[in-house]
Symmetry: C4
Subunit: 270 residues, 4 copies
């Protein structure tokens, strides 16, 4: 970064990604984010924290000050300041520096800086990893289209979880670890999703029978979200009908079949 650049030059470096200086700025931010997240992870290791407490403390504040400068810079250079503050990336930029300041008053909050990982999203967008963006679009669209089906599915699962949880609470009782309906519902979710920690397990024969029924029924049900997403992906990955279509010069109709000789709307020769 050159010394004393003009405001226009600075804005170009921060917001554009076309020339060498701006690209170097992006790469620097990318590495700072990765390093600061790594420092937060390592700082949480008790034996590392015991040995390098001061170094981690210094690094954390260094990163926070750097990101604060960047945040103020972006705000100062932005033409629509409120728009930036309340944009998704603006919120993430703010959340990435707040925890360190909060840690002055509250214990352990400094670890929330890992939210900085979300800042990587901007960098990925900047690097314009074309193929990834397109594939990500397909995945997002498949998830969006199956939203209603997934909500119904989660509603059904929650009802099963509620009734199962209550039955197991009555059948097994606190002696087996099913201390309340809430805990039993937690167990039911652990079982239905096939996670199966084993921290709470049925002990009575009736409880084991019930659990086995739930696992078998649950397994049949749990196959549903996979089915939903697969079905969407299979349908949406089919060639779009637009590839190689024709346009009618007379009536301006689009999406005409590639093998059409005449426009199907106005009958004109193509």
């Amino acid at each position: 970064m050159s010394l004393f650049p003009s405001k226009e030059r600075l804005a170009h470096i921060v917001f554009e990604h076309s020339d060498k200086a701006s690209r170097r700025f992006d790469i620097t931010v990318l590495w700072l984010i990765l390093l600061s997240v790594l420092v937060a992870i390592l700082d949480s290791e008790p034996w590392l924290h015991a040995r390098y407490k001061r170094e981690f403390y210094f690094l954390e504040w260094a990163f926070t000050i750097l990101f604060t400068i960047e945040y103020i810079l972006r705000l100062y250079l932005s033409s629509r300041k409120l728009g930036y503050i309340f944009s998704f990336y603006g919120m993430v930029d703010l959340l990435a520096i707040l925890p360190t300041y909060l840690s002055i008053f509250l214990a352990n909050t400094q670890f929330l800086v890992v939210i900085r990982a979300l800042r990587l999203l901007r960098v990925v967008r900047i690097l314009k990893l074309g193929r990834y963006v397109k594939e990500a679009e397909i995945l997002k669209s498949a998830l969006r289209k199956s939203r209603a089906k997934i909500q119904i599915f989660i509603g059904t699962v929650l009802t099963i979880v509620l009734i199962t949880g209550t039955l197991m609470f009555i059948v097994e009782g606190p002696e087996s670890g099913f201390t309340s309906i809430g805990v039993s519902m937690y167990w039911a979710i652990v079982t239905l999703t096939t996670v199966g920690y084993g921290d709470i397990t049925p002990i009575t024969p009736i409880g084991k029978f019930l659990a086995a029924v739930i696992m078998l029924l649950g397994y049949a049900i749990i196959a549903v979200p996979t089915g939903i997403i697969t079905s969407e992906l299979t349908t949406s990955s089919k060639p779009t009908p637009d590839s190689g279509t024709k346009v009618c010069k007379t009536c301006k109709s689009r999406h005409l079949d590639a093998d059409a000789n005449y426009c199907k709307y106005c009958g004109e020769r193509l």
Copy 2:
């Protein structure tokens, strides 16, 4: 709800969902259900029960009396009383109030009131969440069509579970926790569905080898229900290719788009 409405007016409010008063009635019932289920869940927490025992007891009876009044009202206003009693929703309405009365004689049964959650089904239907109803239909139809396949699958799984369970009972024996064929079958279901609590695990080398074989084979088998449901969903979400196509009388071309005015091959008016 206005004071002293006529029987016709009351029936309209309870059974219809078109005007303001009836909609307000539906929303009130919806909230009462949600609150009463929440109260039952919280009441089961030992520390909350210890502190607010009387309040929970009072609330539970209040909800039960309200739902009892609603049940009697529905019965009184219904033109086909027997039809209501033995309908799905009539049974659920009754099951939603019975446990509290049973709790006078039996311990812990009051928690069965969570069956009230099923009453939410009616409210969801009332709110006519169109998109959800349609999507739920697709899911239900896919599950119904794959019923035979899923029954065969569960039959196969139960046979594997029976034979595997017996083998493990003989190989491992009571020392490893495989105390009976029933318990071994419970273990086999826990393993085949990949839940894997870990409350019972093979200890002998032969037992571990058998378990590994079952896991690998089981995994290949367990992929089947997902395949069944996905296959149904993919097939049922596809439009049939020929529905509503046109045929050209002049050149006899088929499969012309339904919205075509002119044949795309010969340009003739359809």
Copy 3:
């Protein structure tokens, strides 16, 4: 069963399923199988065995003698005796009575009589549950077609399991429960199939990191069998091209399209 029926009449009752007597014979066998399996399961429960030891012992021998009589009867009535002995059902019929006789010499082998459950297969076939047979055929065919893919998949998984197991054995060592490569491979299978008992878990940071990598990679790989079977089911559940096809009277060609006016092979009007 009538007294002293002729050999032909007996053969008809045992092997055919068309008249009342033979159907009654089938249903009796079905119930005897179910009961004898149930008795074996209950006999394995320690507290039931302690109380009803003599009753279970008597019942087990009663069932075995009945099934032995049935086996000898089938052998005597069969026209191709060797064919019956070495057929799948003949082997199962023999295996269903052998364990009780073996239990005179060996402990615990009597529980192997649960193999009788496989005898139910014949009854299911007898009852000609048409829809189930057809659906089972689709499932079997999908599994058969994907056999090569599944064998490659299991080969790949076993290689991963071998190398992962060895690495974890070296990294974690006997202190964490990874006492040998065999045990580590058992752990790797438990992890890759997402069963996750938790009887053996990595303790060192490097072991945990390795395990996490294996889980993530493994999860991507384990999605493959589901994909294979789903893909087969989707393809094989498509309408067969034969529904509603035409046949040419002149050249006897089959499978002509339903919308054909002329035979595509000889040009004859259909």
Copy 4:
């Protein structure tokens, strides 16, 4: 192997697979690999190692010397020596003998010889198991095509794991086993992939609630890789619909079957 064969003859035996001698060489190597891997696995069993320590030590060195001779032979007979050394199979051949030599200096490294299992790949290729090669190609191609989607998926999972891990570390703390962000991330991966060891489990109500949310959301997300691979497999196993269809010159009908001699609509010779 005949005595004193010429260099050409030796090269033919080692590199070709057409005549009896070369095939016998391949099969011998195949069995040596399988046996040496088996010896390494058995040697790691403490009770077998204690009893047959000397035998295992001898066998291991015998196999290593044989494979070393083979390696030197391949190197000597190869026309492009550097090409062989740095090829995939050359590297695997070297890695298959190195661990034993390393075990002179480092403990336990001799078990790394299981890498020899990868040498089986060459033998499988040699035996030209045609059907398997083709099916493996389909699987590999489906995985290759879904690489970008799977990378995005793993990126998303890692971000969820990082943020979830940090939240659980702050909520649960070291008392519940969440001793650092690293350990919490390990727990998050164990939970998201539904492995669910149960070595670390949430204890506080907030932690259990968070874990339940992650399981349910996670389950919906984890369905994605299955969807991706299934979708690829389904698409890539389908023949394209239009390949090799015919067009009728008289009535201009399209999509006529490739094996048609006459137009099925107008009966004209094609």
